[in-house]
Every structure is written in structure tokens, then in C-alpha cells.
């Protein structure tokens, strides 16, 4: 896939594969991300994969935009398209969110059908953003896609499962949001595990597993989550 290179200040290079969101561009982002992780160019600090592009942050005392661009080009020439298979992560969800009925009304479906549609979605972690652990999961089925609310609701608790358009997100902080709240999850996205502090890697598949409010309460008490 054709890549466009943009210098960002003195310390980063943005590699863009498309102007519009699409599977090919995101697959290219993931492949390059993987290639850079396997064989990091000298002076690279970190990569930030996003929807259509990936940012490569580097130490300007050790390298520069031109050198990083040459390193990226070399990897792009030898790139094998990523098989779209990250790990599969399970996220528990209890569907007692305040917006379940609102989404049902907006989509003309009974609440149970909304739940079943949400459970049936094929989710993939596209990128993180906004706040620590906020992973944007693509894959909300067409039938239950709803737009963002006109204004944000305050103090939505951590562990809320929220949707807007084709995307779903499990919140990690108490935050305002304009997305629709379907339910809550006791599954920690910030794992507290030193070796893997965040549940999802970008590219991972996500499966939601339905639990009852009681099970959710017990799990949340046990994990001290939220």
C-alpha cells in the first residue's frame, strides 16, 4: 500500500496509508507496527498506531526524519500483509446500562435484540486514545449503530460499555461521554499486570460474554474495579 510521510516537529514521523478509514489502511498500520516492533530502527522511541496512520516517535539526538523514513520504506518493501488475527480477549458485560432502552427505541428493536446484536458483533481493537486504556473497538453491527448524543453525560463510571456509530468502548475512568451506555463490565482493561498492563493490543479481537447484574457486582467487588 502506498504510504505518505509527514514530519511532525523535530521528533516524529507520521506514516499515512489513506485519507479515509478502511480495512486495508488499518491492516497496513498493523503490519508496519509489527515490523517496527520486531526490528526497531535506531533511535526510535515508540509507535502510536491509529486508524489510517501510525506515528513513529524518535530521539532527535540519535536520528532524524530522513533516516526513520528510509527505515520505514525498507520495511514496507518487505511487508507481509498481516493476517487479521490478533489474540482474542474476552470481556464480560452485564446489560443494565441506562441507554439500553434508548438504543432499542432508536433502532426499533426490542432490548433483547439489541443485546443479542451487540453480543454477535465481531470486534477488533483499532486504536487507543482519549485517556489511558480507552480502546476503540470496531465492529458494532449495523442494526444497533446509533449516533453520538448531542451533549455529553457527566460522571459515567469506569467499566461502562458504551457505543457510538460502528465503535464500542469499555471505559477505564469516570468521565463524561456522549456515547450510549449499554451496560457495565467487571473485566479490568487496566490489568495491573506489570508485563501486560493493558488488556488489548491493537489488532486484538474481542468477544463479549454476558453476565448477570449479580455476577457483575460480585466480580466488581472482588476486583475492586470501578
Amino acid at each position: 500500500m502506498q504510504a505518505r510521510f509527514t514530519s511532525v516537529a523535530d521528533h516524529a514521523l507520521l506514516v499515512t496509508f489513506a485519507d479515509e478509514i478502511g480495512d486495508d489502511a488499518h491492516a497496513a498500520v498493523l503490519s508496519l507496527d509489527c515490523a517496527l516492533a520486531e526490528d526497531p530502527p535506531h533511535g526510535m522511541i515508540e509507535m502510536v498506531p491509529a486508524l489510517v496512520n501510525i506515528l513513529i516517535d524518535f530521539d532527535p539526538l540519535q536520528t532524524d526524519h530522513g533516516k526513520i523514513q528510509a527505515e520505514v520504506k525498507m520495511r514496507l518493501e518487505n511487508l507481509t500483509p498481516m493476517p487479521a488475527t490478533g489474540a482474542t480477549r474476552c470481556v464480560q458485560i452485564c446489560y443494565d446500562g441506562p441507554d439500553l432502552d434508548v438504543v432499542a427505541q432508536a433502532t426499533g428493536l426490542p432490548p433483547d435484540a439489541v443485546i443479542n446484536a451487540h453480543l454477535a458483533g465481531d470486534y477488533q481493537a483499532l486504536m487507543y486514545g482519549f485517556a489511558p486504556g480507552y480502546a476503540y473497538l470496531a465492529g458494532v453491527p449495523d442494526a444497533i449503530q446509533v449516533p453520538r448524543k448531542p451533549s455529553a453525560v457527566r460522571d459515567v463510571p469506569a467499566g461502562s460499555v458504551i457505543i457510538a456509530g460502528p465503535q464500542c468502548l469499555v471505559t477505564t475512568l469516570k468521565m463524561p461521554t456522549g456515547w450510549s451506555i449499554l451496560g457495565r463490565s467487571p473485566t479490568p482493561i487496566l490489568t495491573g499486570d506489570q508485563d501486560r498492563p493493558f488488556l488489548f493490543s491493537v489488532g486484538d479481537r474481542i468477544v463479549f460474554e454476558r453476565i448477570t447484574p449479580d455476577q457483575c457486582d460480585r466480580a466488581q467487588d472482588g476486583a475492586g474495579h470501578g
Binding site: 479515509e20 522511541i45 532524524d64 485517556a131 498492563p197
Partner: protein, 333 residues
């Protein structure tokens, strides 16, 4: 060596624990945090003889009052022109002092500057998050914001008498306008907006915190109100919201976002940018990416020379007295 304890009698908003910051987690939505003004923070640690990145306190315009519950402990204060009071002595920031049991230290906003730093000759006992004690303000993760009543324990606190006194302020070469590299989305803006961005003067507004600094000035018009697919943001990104208002993203920035970015401030310009206050005026100057790197390398060399200089102990009072005597050839009464 013993532990020292400082209690927080008062802490203004945005007074927080910071260390060198946590890099490497932007892909998980975590910006590096760390000090807003890295030069002053590094100067405080260097002057106190600490390793770089040693955890200390970032003081906002809101100020802070600390009381020494047990000591002694030496502290270096650097950044801006803040007012420092301790034991009835008043001085400015850029000083090294020693607090003993019962001493009170007050730091408050002075003539200029938005952030001051307290480096400490002891290990601040707070739990790190992702291997860093830096506070990420939106989440509160890391060392955290200081609260009245809180006790700060400093492990293995020592007195650095040979370092007490003034810290030389940095005097690094800088042009008046802030260097930026245009883009990544400058092509989304009208030619007039791009011209205005580098010609006009912008004012710092009071919408300024660790996440970003909103400016006011001429509206920066887009060709159309297009949103871009959410893409990575860095410290220094100048994003423009739908109403044409630019915001410079800072230490606790979001890691991705969908507002177009007209330019990115060169990293070494941020130390002086963040010391500006609401109402102050600033201008931007477009440079090439190559020039930006050259500027950063030059700044790094100057900074390194400066830090080496302030890291040299002045000597104890007795040593200094002796030195003076030898130079001037007379003895005091």
C-alpha cells in the same frame, strides 16, 4: 540517613508529583506526563545532586505550603519567578534550602512563570504507575495531585549543605517567536489561515492546564469543516477546533484525536512556552523539519553544559569562607 516527612498544609490546584515521565505507552492512550517545564525540573535535580528524573513536586500558580514534620531534608526550588518563604526568610525560586523539623515552606506565584519545581534530597514514597511516579492529571494515576493534610515521606533524606544557596538560572539562546513545523494537516486550512498562523500574534487564555493551552487570536479557517480520521497527537501539536481556535497540546495530552493540526511546536520550545501565563502574547515561526532537529541538538548541548555547571557543589559555608579568605587575604571578625 533517615526518612524525612513533609506534610501538605495547602496545595493549589494542579500541584502534583512528577518525575521524568513515562514514555512508551502512547499506543495505550497514555501520554508521557512529567514536568511541563523539563529544563527547570532538570535544573532543580542537577543543582541538588540528584539523578535526572528524580521524583519531585510541580507547583502551579496556586502555590503550596509544606511543613517539615521530621527532617532535615534539602530541597531545590527552580522554575519561573515564584516567591519562596521559609523560616521568615523570603527569596525567589532558583534556590536550595534545608528544612528542619517544624520549618514551613511557602511557594506562591511571583512576577512571572506558571510552574516551579521542588526537587528533594530523598526518595518520595509513592506508588509508581507504569514505572513512573509522574502524575497523569486526567486519570489521577501516578504519584497524584497534592492534597492538604497529606504526608509526603522522603526515604533516606539528606542535608546537602554544600549545595545551599542560589541556583544559576539558565540563559539558553531563543528567538522571540516559537518554532513550529507546519502540519500534518496544514493543507486542510485556507492559505489565509496558514499565513495568519505565522504572521499574527496569539494570546494565551486562561483555558490552560497540563493537557493543553488554548490561544485566542484570528480564527484559523478550514477549507471545509472536515473531520479527519482520529490520528496520533504529540506534545506540542497545535490542533484547531471547528470554531477556528488553536490549542497547543501539552504534557498530559490525549494520544489521538480528530481535530486537524495546523502545526507542531518544536519540542525544545515547550519549556519556555509553558511558563507563559494567561494574557501573555506569542507568535509562531515556521521552520523546516531539518532546522527543527538542528535547533533541538543545539538546545540539548546548551542544556547539558548548563546542567553540568549547576551540578557543581558550591561548597559548605565553612569551605566557602575559607576560599574567600584565601582569595581576599583577610579574616573576618
Amino acid at each position: 540517613m533517615a526518612d524525612a516527612v513533609l506534610s501538605v498544609s495547602f496545595a493549589g490546584p494542579l500541584v502534583s508529583i512528577q518525575d521524568g515521565g513515562r514514555t512508551g505507552h502512547m499506543r495505550y492512550g497514555v501520554s508521557a506526563s512529567g514536568p511541563m517545564d523539563r529544563l527547570s525540573f532538570d535544573a532543580a535535580n542537577a543543582a541538588l545532586g540528584n539523578p535526572q528524573g528524580h521524583a519531585g513536586i510541580e507547583v502551579s500558580l496556586g502555590g503550596v505550603i509544606l511543613k517539615c514534620e521530621s527532617g532535615p531534608v534539602s530541597l531545590a526550588i527552580a522554575g519561573g519567578a515564584f516567591l519562596v518563604d521559609y523560616n521568615g526568610i523570603s527569596c525567589g525560586s532558583w534556590t536550595i534550602i534545608t528544612l528542619r523539623k517544624g520549618d514551613r515552606l511557602t511557594i506562591r506565584a511571583g512576577a512571572s512563570g506558571s510552574w516551579a519545581y521542588i526537587a528533594m534530597s530523598g526518595g518520595l514514597q509513592v506508588d509508581p504507575w507504569l514505572n513512573s511516579k509522574a502524575t497523569h492529571t486526567i486519570s489521577g494515576f501516578g504519584g497524584g495531585a497534592l492534597r492538604a493534610g497529606q504526608k509526603l515521606v522522603l526515604h533516606d533524606a539528606v542535608v546537602r549543605e554544600d549545595r545551599e544557596g542560589e541556583i544559576a538560572k539558565p540563559n539558553l539562546h531563543a528567538t522571540s517567536a516559537l518554532s513550529v513545523v507546519m502540519g500534518p494537516q496544514d493543507a486542510r486550512f485556507t492559505n489565509a489561515a496558514v499565513r495568519q498562523f505565522t504572521n499574527a500574534t496569539f494570546k494565551v487564555t486562561d483555558a490552560y492546564d497540563r493537557m493543553g493551552m488554548r490561544l485566542s487570536g484570528p480564527g484559523l479557517a478550514l477549507h471545509s469543516a472536515l473531520s479527519i480520521p482520529s490520528e496520533p497527537i504529540v506534545r506540542g501539536s497545535v490542533q484547531v477546533s471547528g470554531d477556528g481556535v488553536p490549542t497547543i497540546l501539552l504534557a498530559d495530552h490525549q494520544t489521538t484525536g480528530g481535530y486537524p493540526k495546523i502545526a507542531t511546536v518544536v519540542s525544545v520550545e515547550l519549556d519556555r512556552l509553558v511558563q507563559m501565563r494567561s494574557g501573555e502574547m506569542l507568535r509562531f515561526r515556521s521552520v523546516t523539519a531539518e532546522d527543527a532537529i538542528a535547533q533541538t541538538r543545539q538546545y540539548a548541548a546548551q542544556k547539558s553544559a548548563y546542567l553540568s555547571k549547576v551540578a557543581i557543589p558550591r561548597g559548605t559555608f565553612a569551605q566557602r569562607l575559607m576560599r574567600e579568605n584565601l582569595v581576599h587575604g583577610f579574616l573576618p571578625d
